[in-house]
Symmetry: none
Subunit: 215 residues, 4 copies
């Protein structure tokens, strides 16, 4: 969805870029309600009309900004997740991903758009389709790490992916609503405490099937 803008690098292709970055920044700092064409353009040092000239509208620009950060995140997180080979490492990776997103503001940016989509039905399809790659991402790594094990049979990849994204969204919302992040931390802690149990318990009888730990 992020159109390749690298090749046709016109003289002030820079403006497009600056608008996209500014869109992300304003979205994070002022919320969707504050992300007007004028606010973004001002932050980018550009003319508001360019939002329409380049992107066709404010929402389209915001989506472009989401696409840009999604691409970066995907690359980043792919590397993180790839290193996990056990359930515990996977949970660890998930936590790392969450914290990274939080620190970089990606999370806030995404969250604002999800919230906006709820608020404004016209945006829903756009946001919905943009969550697909992430579901596939989780599916892939769950399958890779847990696939074939009893746990994998108990919890099929697709459903775990849904649950994870769902949870991720919920945590995001919470962290936005609650200034203090103690709740969020408590929720993340839970995952860490449960993971070892799940591993221990569901993988105890390796006899049956190609359990990865049977090695």
């Amino acid at each position: 969805m992020a159109r390749d803008t690298a090749r046709t690098q016109r003289p002030s292709e820079g403006t497009r870029d600056r608008l996209i970055d500014a869109a992300g920044t304003v979205l994070r700092e002022e919320g969707y309600a504050g992300a007007s064409a004028r606010a973004i353009a001002t932050s980018a040092g550009a003319n508001p009309a360019l939002v329409f000239y380049h992107f066709g509208g404010v929402d389209q620009l915001l989506l472009a900004a989401l696409d840009r950060s999604s691409a970066r995140r995907m690359e980043l997180h792919q590397a993180t997740a790839a290193q996990a080979t056990t359930l515990e490492e996977l949970v660890e990776a998930a936590t790392t991903i969450y914290r990274t997103d939080l620190e970089h503001g990606y999370l806030a940016q995404f969250c604002e758009l999800v919230a906006a989509a709820v608020t404004k039905p016209a945006l829903r399809a756009e946001i919905s389709s943009r969550s697909e790659p992430w579901i596939a991402f989780i599916e892939h790594h769950w399958e890779r790490v847990v696939g074939g094990s009893p746990l994998g049979r108990l919890l099929p990849a697709r459903e775990v992916a849904f649950a994870a994204v769902t949870y991720y969204l919920g945590v995001n919302l919470f962290s936005v609503l609650d200034e203090d992040s103690s709740r969020t931390d408590a929720v993340l802690d839970l995952a860490h405490r449960v993971a070892p149990r799940a591993k221990l318990l569901t993988m105890r009888f390796p006899g049956s099937g190609p359990s990865p730990e049977g090695r």
Copy 2:
């Protein structure tokens, strides 16, 4: 917030009522972005200025509507949850609650306001404080059903409550974004599949304490 309006039923105390109901309806059907004073008033067959006269503002009206449905839900769900005495029944009750909320549109209504709060920082505190009773609600029933058991020690009530509300929010968002509810259903199924395992595995050695399943 919803004062007892039953007794002193002034001629058009009905208007207040109609506005509150219309606020819920419009919120569900048009989203927060579509819930302007005019839209709500039109739907209630009232003058838009009455939104300000009676409630002081659009957001206050929407919060009043939330409070009204929250009160109803709390009563309803309290009865549902009170019947659960095992973890499985608790999960069952949670599912029932969720489906009820979904069908009655309570869920969408709540969800719109949560999303609006993300979008509009000024609303955050209001929404945040309104989630407290629900956290207490979950805490109470978890403690009642699981408290004292090994599972209860592994998963303390407060954290479970956070996690549940978090999850509920995430599921809500998903169900709003995805017109088709297959994902949501898949996610709920997961809970049902995990619950028995959790029960089996964590409560197998009842020796210690008043485990409920030792019966």
Copy 3:
């Protein structure tokens, strides 16, 4: 202009009273722009509709409040001015009057309405007619103290009265615009410095007829 409200003292004639007082207070503290029927009624602990029931409108109420304080001031200031028998004492009395009005907030109240009248042509006649008694007041005391003297011939009472009221208004405005009152004080000081000169020069040769300067 202040209708006699003492005789028909109905049970809650008190409300009328409270509205009048509240009108003065709100006018002083919030300015004419903030003196809405609702604001005044709230401050009086009364229903806004009573503003219309008792006075016919907001402006009429504000004028009634002005009339009330004018009556008080007239009584008060009459006593002050009556004691002056020389030009210097008259200037002294004027200063006392000004300071009293300032401290009691009468000045601010009057000033707000004058300003409102400028702003809102419909009020002009009302305010204009209410300055008449004060012009007569000044005329009277000037004539009494200075009349017949050379100074009195140089400066006829009516014109001095106009000048004084004019000046009074100007000083009011200034004192409202400038938070710090140093300018106002400087202006009042001028009067004190000029008065003795005027007295000295114009009254030195009382017997002598046409010219005070002995020309």
Copy 4:
């Protein structure tokens, strides 16, 4: 505030201009209370939103209009005052200035804003600061004409300037409140009658140092 608009005369730089002029006109004719964005825009044949686009708000536009006429007046009046070399000529100049302002409506325009500032505290600082140049103006000419003389010592420039502006404001108000200008004229006449006396008496013995009265 009025940027040099002469050179880069964009197609409808004229609109800004027309708005400023219309603001002055409406202010004079309808009073501040009638000077809404819509009223001004209508009078200028422009879209009300342009008031905000170009000036940021109604008050800012009105202040811009004041600045424009202030600039014109300063130029005009500077020339008038510069010719005065005696006290009488100075009083004469002041009268000319006053009459010019009255005829051109500058006076009414200024007066409306002063009144509005009284009514609306937020405007006070803006108006207050805009009176500074005029105080300096008076100070300068008083010093130039009377400075060093006994009268100059009796009446220091700064205080005279305060008094003059104060008086000017008061007279303005009066002239606005009283449709008929006989009072205003009477007040101006006073000044003419007093001036020669003051001149005569205070400047008679130029060689003599401190006190004109030979004390």
